[in-house]
Symmetry: none
Subunit: 226 residues, 2 copies
Amino acid sequence: MKYSASKENHLKAIFHLQQEQGIVTTNALAASLRTKPASVTDMLKKLKEQKLLIYERYKGFKLSTEGRKAAVLVIRKHRLWELFLVKKLQFGWDEVHEIAEELEHISSRELVDRLDAFLGFPETDPHGDPIPDSQGRFQPRKQVCLSELPLNKVVQVSGIASQTTEMLELLQYNHIRLGTRLEIRKKFPFDDSLEVKVRNRPPVTISARVAKNVLVKDDEPLSEKR
Amino acid sequence: MKYSASKENHLKAIFHLQQEQGIVTTNALAASLRTKPASVTDMLKKLKEQKLLIYERYKGFKLSTEGRKAAVLVIRKHRLWELFLVKKLQFGWDEVHEIAEELEHISSRELVDRLDAFLGFPETDPHGDPIPDSQGRFQPRKQVCLSELPLNKVVQVSGIASQTTEMLELLQYNHIRLGTRLEIRKKFPFDDSLEVKVRNRPPVTISARVAKNVLVKDDEPLSEKR
DNA sequence: TTTTAATTTTAGATTTGTCTAAATTTATTT
DNA sequence: AAATAAATTTAGACAAATCTAAAATTAAAA
């Protein structure tokens, strides 16, 4: 049940890429870990042997249930430590990432859970990211900007951050307004622009500038109990 | 200025043995680290290359100024984390050693110093050991081991030298913990065991082995300010 | 002072995680 | 569909930290 720091880093990175991009590739993982694709392949084999990963060579890979659990625990630790550093040790929210990268590998479960209690069972870390509870349950972030949204995830527009007339006009023109259901079809890394699809409409392209100001939340008609 | 966890562990162990035994041998170091003499020799060579150690093969070795500084920093971190765990996270004083063994290798100096401030610049850790300040200064403790204590002198337990779980459990069982007031009632020269009396308790017998590891200081009612 | 014993070191192997360069497989173009 | 490009994997190497077994050195005993 205890994995090396490097393994934990790989699991965590895979988890995050899985969330953001839906699918993870060897190259993307290598880039995200600032390592080389060959090294990633080596590690994938080890993670597969430990049944943390479902992996077929040349085909692709994803976390197993075990792997996801391990990844979420690392994220939990990272975010709790970040919050501790900011809230208790008066670090700035932009200074804590590096340190938390080390602290997240301290193994004691008891420690994490007590830290959680010490901080008052917080829901989010200093960057607004949700902190998984001791069972690994995530309350997904309620609102994110469009620019941080993973591909192909249907969401509902829940807010517009900067409401200049020009911006609202542009959105209006593209049939995007509060409550609009949409999803991202493609991301263009060149300028970080997005191809966005609104139901019953042809896809439109949105600049990174605009995307940053459109806030969205999960489209969950189920949870709207009444 | 940053050393591997293993190197830090070696430096720390050398420092402690230097204090206790004056001189350190390859075998003693190996025993203390639960590793093999050959492995120690390998490490000594590396530490010498980094000028953390003065070392001549077959002759002996000791920490350089650099090496001592590094060792003291690790000890500082260890003891601050132990105190944090006990004081803030409500761990028992006998549960924190293992966890602190991991935490002591977190590198950020800023972190240590802020932790120090957060804890109110404490002088001693939960076992009564002095915490070096940010300059690495130590205030040596004025204490002796129980085995060197004269008969019928009331003292207070101020530290436990060797903190194995087994040993702490034994002490716990005999109601001896940090701060406990006790005195020696009888010494048995046959095996150097001692009969010890704790207030409000029947006397118990303590082996020489254990007595060597229990540190006591004069009972100072002065510190009970009122 | 030899001989024996204990300590320490070397030699060579192993594990983990990483790398480069070359080969293989899959994807994309023409 | 053949050719080219991109992605992925293998092969072989290396550094760190450890080990076992054997050799070298120092210490202790006869």
